[in-house]
């Protein structure tokens, strides 16, 4: 049962990583700030600028 729970936890963590939600949490921690609309926009600007400069795989 705990193995299943671990798999589900890891799967959710992978989805959150792909969704940039983990990255946003790290951003909030690094900036020592709280979630807000403006902070999310600042994060998106930084994140997307780096992310969409790289080729996507075929």
């Amino acid at each position: 049962m705990s193995a299943l729970r671990n798999i589900a936890k890891t799967a959710l963590a992978i989805l959150r990583e792909i969704a940039d939600e983990n990255a946003y949490e790290r951003h909030l921690r690094a900036q020592n700030t709280k979630h807000s609309k403006d902070e999310w926009r600042r994060f998106c600007e930084l994140r997307f600028n780096a992310k969409y400069r790289r080729a996507k795989c075929c």
Partner: protein, 688 residues
């Protein structure tokens, strides 16, 4: 005792893999169950991972968990962050999985299931996985540097510039060919066109939701987006059955091509958060979900393979694309066996997330093995169709005849019986007007997947839903590649243009953005229109061009990897990268030379141009087709030039690398490794 049990288990896996591989390789004349392919491939990936990759990790790379990775040393809370290895694995797999491993095997199935399957498995175990793993390692030891930067620093300035130019050219061909796959899938299909058109307002809604309503809730909005996309599939069915709405979403190839070109321009110039990013999230989740569903579906249904092991088209007379099994099977399947594009991902985000050096083993090698398994599943999906139906869908009118009667007569004469009635019934079952001449691989793959899904859930009644679900899934992430690729191409071009006129290099300067976006879009748009107008179906010329380009990029990655091994004083292990490199060079040069110079007009670009020119000069072309023929002649010559440019670029980097290896190995130049310095890792196990 535990050790002995471990040895016995691995021996059993190896024997099982060999038995099943032997089974599929030696079977002739009887249909086999798809589970033979599944078991053979899984066992070989496991053996390759456990023994070959571990050998490379321990002896060649000497991975060391005591050494701090860039994620730890340069931790910044943004790009550099030590991350759990399974999360990096999932993230990396999601980044490397594209349409290539699905479309390539579907097209290569024209040779039968065996050549493609063997290449997918062996190519991945000895080539593709090794490339991804070694480039990831090299980038990780160099603070996450890109392939281009490593080529410049390790080989020289010529190598760096060549790599950059090659990537830009490959992007243009890649975008054209994947756009062609979408256009051919949506041609005269109101159901498919409506569904895909609906994904755009859905993506914009998701962008606005994330920006203004619930910032940061990406998973939440992705679930909403997915529900809306599934609803749009049902909406598409209603549209296709409505005599009022159906004509609004029924378009020919040229109109759809212009729509995709316009979309690419818009997505490149619009703010990322509005269209590109939300669509990217949605397509990644749908992609992962569908791959998982396909795996479960194949295990549940265990379908029979109806395609023979070999078809007569190994001799080069195939209707889908012309060319013998060697070298064309090996360039048609790139992603899934070995793909140069993966080296860009392995030297992108992933090396900045690896917490411990040994994590590169499952992430680099393991993710590619999983991608290769996706390619095996695509091969199964294509081969569970009746071969007659497979060829009727994928063959262009220029090869099998312009009417349904002529097409079925021609395909049946090859020994793959099919009737107009059966094709009509199938088209009606999936809600399409016709399934003839749907070249590009996507429709036949969608049909194979729909067959597997419908056998698991819903039966024949919802075959149409599953077919359009599969088309939606393919088109969704192909369009994501088009918008992201156009944007990346724009940045690369702006980098180059900035040297000519500085403001053009500023990514925020609107005139520069518009000029560069338009140039990139027109670049791939030109090849797309050429493919749509091609009477041989477009795929015949564009897919091999893309395959050659992608494999040549893999050759560049292998040159970089070999150079680094030589500099690390690991020359005795050069064979690990040199064997796949030699194979890639032989395959790509053979294919490129054939594509340029072959006497067979369906294969050789120049010979096709000459045949058309001769017909033109002799006055055998009707006046109404004069302009189209002249354009075809020009396009064939252009394709030959592009192919030659690829060869020149790769020959340059190859010659530069071999010269460097020779000088280092003969003591003419010191072997200076450009690695980051050793820093002791202080990361505690609970932190990863």
């Amino acid at each position: 005792m535990k050790k002995l049990l471990g040895h016995l288990t691995w021996a059993a896996i190896a024997v099982l893999g060999a038995y099943f591989l032997g089974g599929i390789a030696l079977n002739r004349g009887e249909s086999i169950n798809s589970m033979w392919l599944v078991v053979a491939s899984v066992c070989l990936y496991l053996v390759g991972f456990r023994f070959y990759a571990k050998f490379i990790a321990a002896k060649v790379m000497a991975l060391n968990d005591e050494r701090a990775t860039p994620a730890e040393r340069l931790r910044d809370g943004h790009d550099f962050e030590p991350t759990n290895k399974w999360i990096v694995f999932g993230h990396h797999f999601a980044a490397i999985a594209g349409p290539g491993p699905l479309v390539g095997p579907t097209l290569a199935a024209q040779f039968g299931y065996l050549p493609g399957t063997l290449w997918i498995i062996i190519g991945a175990v000895l080539g593709g996985c090794v490339q991804d793993f070694i480039i990831l390692f090299c980038s990780m030891r160099r603070n996450g540097k890109s392939l281009g930067q490593m080529a410049r620093e390790e080989i020289g300035k010529v190598g760096g510039f060549t790599a950059l130019l090659t990537v830009l050219l490959i992007m243009i061909i890649l975008l054209a060919v994947v756009a062609l796959v979408v256009v051919n899938a949506l041609k005269d299909s109101p159901w498919g066109t409506f569904t895909i058109a609906a994904t755009m307002p859905i993506a914009v809604f998701m962008g606005l939701y994330l920006r203004y309503l619930r910032p940061g809730k990406v998973l939440e909005v992705s679930v909403i987006g997915f529900i809306l996309v599934v609803a749009s599939i049902f909406g598409g069915q209603w549209v296709s059955e409505s005599s009022t709405w159906s004509p609004w979403f029924t378009y020919g190839g040229i109109a759809l091509a212009w729509a995709v070109i316009f979309y690419g321009f818009l997505a490149s110039a619009l703010p990322v958060w509005l269209l590109l990013a939300p669509r990217d999230y949605l397509s990644t989740f749908v992609k992962l979900g569908v791959v998982l569903m396909l795996g479960v579906g194949i295990l549940f249904v265990r379908p029979e393979m109806k395609m023979p092991a070999f078809t007569q088209f190994v001799d080069g007379t195939g209707p889908i694309f012309a060319g013998k099994v060697f070298p064309f099977c090996f360039i048609t399947i790139a992603c899934g066996a070995i793909s140069g594009f993966h080296s860009l991902i392995s030297s992108g985000t992933t090396p900045k997330m690896i917490a411990k050096e040994w994590h590169a083993w499952p992430v680099g090698y393991g993710s590619m093995a999983l991608e290769s398994f996706v390619a095996v599943m695509a091969m199964i999906s294509a081969c569970v169709l009746d071969p007659g139906i497979y060829f009727a869908i994928n063959s262009p009118a220029g090869v099998v005849g312009a009417t349904a009667d002529k097409a079925v007569a021609m395909i049946s004469s090859w020994g793959y019986p099919v009737t107009v009635g059966a094709m009509r019934e199938l088209a009606a079952n999936v809600g399409e007007e016709t399934l003839f001449y749907r070249t590009g691989g996507a429709p036949s793959l969608a049909l194979g997947m729909a067959h597997i899904f419908a056998s698991s859930v819903g039966g024949k009644v919802i075959l149409g839903f599953w077919y359009h679900f599969a088309i939606m899934f393919e088109a969704l992430f192909i369009l994501t590649i088009i918008d992201a690729g156009t944007r990346v191409g724009r940045f690369m071009l702006q980098d180059l243009l900035g040297h000519v006129y500085k403001p053009l290099g500023r990514t925020g300067w609107m005139p520069g953005v518009i000029v560069a976006s338009a140039a990139i879009v027109l670049g791939w748009g030109y090849f797309l229109i050429q493919g749509v107008k091609d009477p041989l179906g477009g795929i015949n010329s564009l897919w091999p061009l893309f395959g050659i380009a992608n494999q040549l990029l893999a050759a560049i990655a292998m040159c970089v990897a070999t150079t680094i091994l030589v500099k690390m004083h690991r020359a005795k292990y050069m064979w690990i990268t040199c064997i796949p490199l030699t194979w890639l060079v032989v395959v790509c040069y053979s294919a490129a030379i054939e594509k340029i110079f072959s006497d067979v007009p369906r294969i050789g670009f120049l010979s096709q141009a000459n045949v058309l020119q001769a017909a033109l000069d002799a006055g055998r072309i009707p006046e109404a087709q004069l302009a189209a023929t002249q354009a075809q002649i020009f396009n064939n010559r252009l394709d030959a030039v592009v192919c030659a440019i690829f060869l020149v670029l790769v020959t340059t980097i190859l010659a530069d690398s071999v010269r460097l290896w020779y000088r280092i190995l003969t003591g003419g130049q010191p072997a200076r490794v450009v690695e980051a310095e050793f820093v002791l890792s202080r990361l505690r196990p609970e932190e990863v």
